[in-house]
């Protein structure tokens, strides 16, 4: 079987949807975070696939940037979560509704 661009894109879309589902349904902030990473990587996969099939390195350059930014974001995000946990003793989103009307 020949593996084409659409196969990669389908996998990427599946990964993205799984990540999104996780973000929306899971209650634990850490899990939500991991799901977010999953969504980012789905985007990375699509970009690499496009790069490969278009004989163009732009997509891969983009991926490097995303990986870098994701690393930075994760460090900040995890620091926030730790700080939050220390203050509230919880990492569940249902308990964090201070911004409610």
């Amino acid at each position: 079987m020949h593996v084409g661009l659409e196969h990669y894109l389908i996998v990427s879309a599946l990964l993205f949807s799984l990540g999104l589902l996780g973000v929306i349904t899971r209650r634990n902030l850490l899990v939500i975070y991991m799901s977010l990473e999953l969504m980012l990587n789905a985007a990375n996969l699509a970009l690499v696939a496009f790069s490969r099939f278009n004989n163009n390195l732009n997509g891969q350059v983009m991926v490097f940037f995303i990986i870098t930014v994701a690393a930075a974001e994760v460090s900040v995000g995890l620091a926030l979560i730790v700080a939050l946990y220390r203050k509230r003793q919880t990492a569940h989103v249902e308990d964090l509704t201070a911004m409610k009307y």
């Binding site: 973000v23 939500i32 989103v93 249902e94 964090l96 509704t97 201070a98 911004m99 409610k100 009307y101």
Partner: protein, 634 residues
């Protein structure tokens, strides 16, 4: 050369006003001298222009001021017989009155402000006189209104003066509203505001106004109705006497109130077009705007003369007499006689300024007593004031050879020449009344015995006040034979009046229109004998006994003030109620509370979306993206 002289004449008083207001207001002597100096130089320059251009062609100069699409508005100056005579009146009579004020206002604290206002007034009046287009005329027209307001309310700490100033300003505003509508109409029809251009256009095409010719004339007349205090807007002028007496002399007798007459003469070509009325005014068919003007003038003259008969305040008598004489002038304009109107304006400026200044001298000597029944016997104690006042009275009554005789006779002759017998009878009757009330004033105030302590201790005014009186008396005596009428007539393209040597001019009225002269003299004689019989040596006014209710109505000015007050209160109340309803229900109710209520409800509903739950927001975000994607990719 001529142009720069003209600009100097115009702007010198403004410079004086500005310098006084900004720098020298505290220094009373210097302020007075600056103001008098400015008007004196303007007078000398006007005399120079008069000699240089009096016999030549009209001169016009202008500089552009404002560009609107398709229209250039200028600030310009015309020098023709009409404006040259007015220049001399405004600067000459104005100058004398300013010199007189120097004596009269000597005690006052705010002399600086007084002279600044007088200079501002002189500037504005000169602007009207020189104007070569409607817009400039209107600007200076309003400036004159403002300076008049400032001067009537000069003693603004007195409530009556402040009220009178407001009344004058607001009443004038009514007339000016019609005036500006008229200007806009003329501008709209002719596409120009320059007098010369409009005149040329109307000569070329007299039908340019179509059915609006009559309306345009009447609207322009509205301006004169306000400024020259014609019925029904006459009510402000008597109240304007709250101002200092020299102001009454200058503004509310000699010059400003004459501006309406001057304006009508300046734009007289507007009334020479064939009359037509729009369908909604068809009931005016057969009348021309000039007929309406003439009858309003005649009615005002009669009304004011009747009221003057029963006034006891020396300034009010003169004020109603001014109204009455203005009525004469307006009537003359309405009888297609701008020359007699301007002639009477000129002589009236002399003798009415003289009379007011004489009254001021009396008031000054009697420590602000204005009731003629508390005067008496002033002839011996104030000789100069007495004889100059008598000259003014004789001139006003039209006794030959005083100037008033010639100008009043010219108006009577004009009425006869136009076959307007109704107005002729009115004018003759008013002439009799004029003589009656003026000699009533003269006999009561100057003859007989002093009725009051202050009157018996009166003494003559200082020479800075009596010299202007002497000079004005000289002018009032001789102005009739100087050939002013012939000079003015040339300005209106009327060449048949020739300048006569003075000894012929003296008898000219008798040969020109013997009927008019005869009736005028008879009226004067009648008025004089009635006044002599009733008031010579009278201790109190016998007329209320004889006339009863009529005398009361005259004394109460035929209740026009009460009528207007009631009318205004009534309409004011009605308008206020409607306005209050609109404010309460439409503006505060629907607009303000409605907006507030809807916004608040919407806010309450929308804030329920803010659950504070991160995942809800994430879900809504994704939902939004999905919807957008669907819409884009559809």
């Amino acid at each position: 050369m001529t142009a720069s002289l003209t600009w100097i004449i115009l702007f010198l008083p403004l410079v004086a006003a500005a310098v006084i207001t900004l720098f020298t207001q505290r220094d009373r002597e210097l302020s007075a001298k600056l103001s008098i100096g400015a008007v004196a130089i303007s007078f000398v320059l006007s005399a120079v222009l008069f000699l240089a251009h009096g016999s030549g062609k009209p001169f016009e100069c202008a500089c552009p001021w404002l560009f609107l699409d398709g229209l250039e508005i200028q600030i310009g100056a015309i020098l023709d017989p009409l404006s040259l005579v007015m220049l001399l009146i405004v600067t000459g009579v104005g100058g004398l009155i300013q010199i007189y004020s120097y004596g009269y206002m000597h005690e006052d604290r705010s002399v600086g402000r007084y002279f600044a206002c007088l200079s501002l007034f002189t500037f504005s009046m000169l602007g009207i006189v020189l104007a070569n287009n409607f817009v400039q005329l209107f600007i200076f027209w309003e400036l004159v209104g403002v300076s008049s307001y400032l001067l009537i309310g000069f003693w603004h700490e007195r409530a009556s003066a402040a009220d009178a100033a407001k009344k004058a300003f607001i009443t004038n505003r009514l007339g000016d509203f019609g005036f500006i509508l008229g200007i806009l109409l003329v501008w709209n029809v002719t596409g120009d505001v320059n007098f010369g251009e409009i005149k040329a256009l109307l000569e070329h095409n007299p039908q340019a106004f179509g059915a609006l010719a009559g309306v345009a004339g009447l609207l322009i007349f509205c301006g004169a109705m306000g400024k020259s205090a014609q019925f029904p807007l006459h009510v402000w002028l008597p109240d304007a006497m709250e101002g200092p007496t020299p102001v009454s002399a200058l503004i509310h007798a000699a010059t400003m109130v004459a501006a309406g007459v001057y304006m009508l003469c300046r734009v007289f070509f507007l009334f020479n077009v064939p009359t037509a009325w729009p369908a909604s005014l068809a009931f005016l068919g057969g009348l021309t705007p000039l007929n309406v003007i003439a009858w309003i003038g005649g009615f005002t003259a009669l009304l004011a003369a009747l009221i003057a008969v029963q006034q006891n305040d020396i300034k009010r008598i003169l004020a109603y007499s001014t109204l009455s004489q203005l009525g004469y002038m307006i009537m003359a304009v309405g009888l297609s006689g701008p020359t007699p109107a301007m002639f009477h304006l000129t002589t009236h400026a002399f003798f009415k300024a003289l009379l007011f200044l004489g009254a001021g001298s009396v008031i000054h000597a009697l420590h602000h007593e204005q009731d003629i029944w508390k005067m008496g016997g002033l002839r011996a104690r104030m000789p100069v004031t007495h004889w100059t006042f008598l000259v003014g009275t004789l001139a006003l009554c039209g006794v030959p050879p005083f100037s008033g005789f010639f100008s009043k006779d010219a108006i009577l002759a004009q009425a006869l020449q136009r076959n307007s017998y109704g107005l002729f009878i009115v004018a003759v009757f008013v002439a009799a009344l004029t003589t009656f009330y003026m000699f009533r004033l003269y006999f009561v105030a100057f003859r007989g015995e002093a009725r009051d302590d202050t009157a018996s201790h009166a003494h003559e005014s200082p020479s800075v006040m009596t010299w202007p009186l002497r000079l004005l008396a000289f002018a009032s005596l001789f102005a009739g034979v100087w050939g002013i009428d012939a000079f003015l007539a040339r300005g209106f393209g009327d060449e048949h009046l020739h300048s006569l040597p003075w000894y012929q001019a003296l008898l000219e009225p008798l040969s020109h229109s013997p009927m008019a002269a005869l009736f005028g003299l008879m009226a004067t004689a009648l008025g004089f004998s009635a006044a002599y019989a009733l008031y010579s040596g009278a201790a109190s006014d016998p007329l209320p006994m004889k006339l009863g209710a009529l005398a009361r109505m005259m004394r109460d000015k035929f209740y026009f003030d009460e009528l207007y007050t009631g009318l205004i209160a009534f309409t004011h109340e009605a308008i206020s109620r409607v306005a209050a309803w609109i404010d309460r229900w439409l503006i505060a109710g629907i607009a303000v509370r409605g907006t507030h209520g809807t916004t608040e409800l919407a806010g309450r509903a929308l804030r329920l979306v803010q659950t504070g739950n991160l995942q809800t927001y994430a879900f809504l975000l994704v939902l939004g993206v999905a919807v957008l994607l669907y819409l884009v990719l559809k």
